[in-house]
Symmetry: C2
Subunit: 590 residues, 2 copies
């Protein structure tokens, strides 16, 4: 097996296989992937044409080589053979050119829940079978390409990571600024990087002009190499035939802006030919590899939206209201599977400014594993902010992370050995963020220093599992000030210590501080400000409480996390009091 390539130059990928086969007379009733068995020579010659034109990387003829696609031709038993042969052919061709072989994997043609009917496990198995076959022939990369849906490509990527250590390039296809199923380029980049992709990008879609903003958004949201493989312009449909307007020169001219973005992997898709590849090669020859960006930051994502976190970002608000613990009505609605109220709660919290939503289904007498997944299916369709999976049960968490197509935050783990062993592998596998409570089997330590010790232990365990510090959110735990007036100080001290020494994110469920006291909102809002002053990144609060949101706005500004007061001024537009405002009311009295 060859080693994972260290990028030393911009890699030129080949162009369309399908376009070439169609030109060479492929009939609609013929399965293109089956040509690996029927006409290996024809396939190899296309590879050779691209290699001769200058491609550094050629793509196997296995795009439709999964069981469900092959079944359309009655070839569901040929998965292994077709895919293995596909790699072998490419490898034969590439050898003389010292070219790389990427094994192409396209979508199954079926949709995963909640968009379609297929379960995570069903989709996963189909990819596992195909990629397993490809991997046996040791391609240099796996290329998951032309995917519409983040849910599906996640399955494919997880399957690839399970069957081999081959680097995986993940590429979706976009209609304008979103995929067919509504996925944003930024979200795709964040989610797939979290899941262990080696590179991310986009292919097919429209032509190079239309795809530019997609690739720009991707490259702003990832530190991985970025792949771009546009079609040869926007396809034109004339009397049943599809044509592509851009010839080789025009295509490469249109690619120009991409080089400024620092893309490292470039090829072409539908409508392209070796001529296009040749022009690309000429353009990049001798161009040095763009410096790798390090945009690695803390991020969570829904299918549509990326939320960045950490000290250079606004502190973020997690809406706490979807929690049946203190709200009987929510418990009832969960039991009866009447999710209208919950959807409403989600919507009003987002409207009020929540950046993420906590989902807690802790009710007795329901299958929480099932309920959590159902809610996630529902809410990721209805609202666009990332979700926080509020559970400590490894089964609930695993199922939820399969159901969720974004990069979720799991709330929570703690310092107990058993908890770390059970949950951290799940967090790592599904590329989630994780809330770490500073408590363990002995309870919540009184002193900040002792909470810090637990935080450090959890962080080291995360390090050992390869979970990035960017994905850890330490919760130093808020106790009730009415019981012990020194309790909030310990929380704030622990928060500051964790933030300064462990380089992780921090999170707090704020409202508990005022338990049992009058005028709770006043205390909560004030404590939020203090916590933000001490380095809080994420606050679990009730976003419908205006005092809390006011405090969040102002504290974000005052903590230097609202550059040029942009957020504050936007949210308070039209309320400008003027400089002497404080005094005017009084002056009018006289």
């Amino acid at each position: 097996m060859r080693h994972t390539p260290n990028l030393e130059k911009i890699l030129v990928f080949d162009g369309a296989m399908g376009t070439m086969l169609l030109e060479q007379g492929l009939k609609p009733e013929t399965c293109p992937d089956y040509l690996n068995i029927l006409e290996p020579q024809q396939v190899e010659e296309i590879h050779l044409a691209y290699l001769k034109a200058g491609a550094d990387v050629i793509t196997t003829n296995t795009f439709g080589g999964n069981r469900w696609k092959l079944a359309e031709y009655g070839l569901e038993d040929k998965v292994k053979e077709i895919n293995r042969e596909g790699v072998k052919i490419a490898r034969r061709a590439a050898e003389a050119f010292n070219g790389y072989v990427v094994a192409s994997v396209g979508p199954t043609g079926q949709f995963i829940k909640p968009i379609g009917k297929k379960t995570f496990q069903e989709i996963y198995e189909v990819f596992r079978e195909q990629i397993g076959a490809l991997a046996e022939e040791e391609p240099d990369f796996i290329l998951l390409e032309t995917f519409h849906d983040l849910g599906e490509i996640r399955c494919a990527l997880l399957a690839a990571r399970d069957v081999c250590s081959t680097p995986v390039i993940c590429s979706l296809t976009y209609e304008g600024r979103r995929t067919l199923t509504g996925v944003s380029p930024g979200s795709a980049a964040v989610v797939l990087e979290a899941l262990g992709a080696w590179a991310v990008g986009a292919n097919c879609s429209g032509g190079p002009e239309e795809l530019f903003h997609v690739i720009k958004e991707i490259s702003q949201n990832t530190s991985l190499p970025v792949l771009v493989q546009p079609n040869a312009g926007l396809p034109e449909f004339n009397q049943g035939a599809v044509t592509y307007p851009l010839g080789p020169q025009g295509f490469v001219c249109a690619l120009e802006p991409y080089f400024d973005l620092g893309i490292q992997l470039v090829g072409s898709c539908c409508g392209s030919t070796p001529g296009h590849t040749g022009e690309i090669k000429k353009r990049v020859n001798g161009v040095s590899l763009p410096m790798p960006k390090d945009v690695r930051k803390s991020a969570l994502a829904s299918r549509e939206k990326v939320v960045y976190l950490g000290k250079d970002e606004l502190p973020r608000v997690i809406g706490e209201r979807i929690n049946p613990t203190a709200r009987k009505i929510l418990g009832e609605s969960l039991k009866q599977e009447q999710y209208g109220i919950i959807q409403h709660e989600a919507e009003v919290q987002v409207e009020a400014g929540a950046h993420l939503l906590d989902i807690n289904v802790g009710v007795h007498g329901i299958d929480q594993r099932e309920t959590m997944a159902k809610l996630i299916h529902l809410l990721q369709q209805k609202i666009d902010v990332p979700l926080v999976i509020d559970s400590t049960d490894p089964n609930v968490i695993k199922n939820a992370l399969e159901a969720y197509h974004g990069k979720a935050l799991v709330n929570s783990i703690n310092g107990e050995e058993r908890c770390l062993e059970l949950i951290l592998p799940v967090i790592k596998r599904y590329g989630a963020g994780v809330v770490a409570l500073t408590l363990d089997e002995h309870g919540i330590p009184v002193k900040a220093e002792d909470r810090y010790v637990i935080a450090e232990k959890i962080v080291k365990a995360c390090d050992a599992y390869g979970i990035s510090r960017n994905d850890i959110y330490v919760d130093c735990l808020v106790l009730t000030v009415g019981t012990d007036e020194k309790a909030p100080i310990e929380t704030l001290r622990a928060l500051k210590m964790v933030k300064e020494k462990l380089h992780v994110n921090t999170i707090l469920g704020v409202s508990n501080v005022s338990h049992g006291l009058p005028e709770r909102s006043k205390i909560n809002a004030t404590f939020l400000a203090m916590a933000i002053a001490n380095g809080l990144d994420l606050a679990i609060i009730n976003p419908l409480d205006k005092a809390m949101m006011d405090s969040w706005q102002a504290a974000s500004l005052l903590a230097g996390r609202d550059t040029k007061a942009t957020n504050y001024i936007q949210l308070n537009h039209g309320n400008k009091q003027g400089i002497k405002g404080d005094h005017q009311a009084t002056q009018e009295k006289y």
Copy 2:
């Protein structure tokens, strides 16, 4: 000259001189102090009687030896003679007993402004003359006794400190829990300690029972030795004659609770005789000296009220509204000497919860020195919270500190050499607190570290002048977040650094942070919470702004400075929402 005594045992002071002289036939038309010249033998025998009875300390017959009192007998030219002889007689008597001599100084019989017509300087000169005479004969102590008014005793103490280094004991006389002019025992203790008294206490007043709570309050508010010299019970008036009910045994029984307070200086006053002194001596013989308390803390005081500050106290609020800078109407009222509006502003701020009031008279075209003094005369009569003298002019400050009878805070000095040299001696002399701005001739440093350097410089200068760290209030300066969103962070960092390393108090004028932005109150309230979280002790704010006072209440609680939430619960009484309060509003919707 003998050395200042190091207390090694409880010192027993003698009893009444007047009572003895009256018993021996002193006529009303005779000046008692003149007996030092006319009948030195008679005076000396009374001293000897007290010394024989067991007095460690005898009191010179100079109580009425000031120019104004002596003038009542046409003896205004005999000040020097009468006082010097008084000390000489006592010294002769004390010698054989190795007794201490205290030089008695009583009030002038005139009242200082604003209660009376006499100026600070007039009163001061009268005391300076008498004490100057006494000091020439080197008594062991000066005893300022039976004063009704804090304003007057301040003059006497300053005069004593100016003419000699003899330790000064300051003792007022009380009617119930206040002096005739409304001074509280705690305020007297704080103000006189700040001015350099060696001991404080009370004499005369009612009998030992009535005086107990006065002495208790004094001893709770000072770390100095405490003197108690009650009358021999509450005087009874029968047919023009005054009698005192407590004989020696009864008197000493009634003194019992004082020993639990740890008093170190004990004697008797009107109606007492050597018999009383003998019983006191028996009681304290062999009793070891109570441990000195260290209650030395940061305190400011009006005539009536002591406000403690520092990390174990509630953060305190200074009302900022008496400031004509942004309020034209106040400027007009100052020019026209119509102070009704200002008095009203003072009253509403105190009602709203201000613990101190800032007084700024910065208007062009008025004599600020004069105006400040007038306002102080007015306001210290009308409101009971300590005042903050907001000026940087040494003349305005000096005059204000003479006009004010309490322990004021001076706002402000800064790190300029010239400013320190001019103002620090004034602060030290008048026993005030001082606000130190972290700026100097180069302006306000951007970085917290550089502001800290200025703070440190000022603190060291204060050290050199003998100004206690308890009396320093460092202001790390609030800049506008709208201009630089990192500015508040620097202020908070500087605040924390100063608080942790310099062991001084901290103060901030909060409102400037929101200058030019909409919804300023929201920003101000949030910044106040952040500042309190970082160790703010004193906030200059608008107490009529409810959001600010809410933030102050809650932040005080959350910073652990409101023990058992007492302050918070008291201010929010009747607003108890109950534990599930946050959720109920929502539940009711369904």
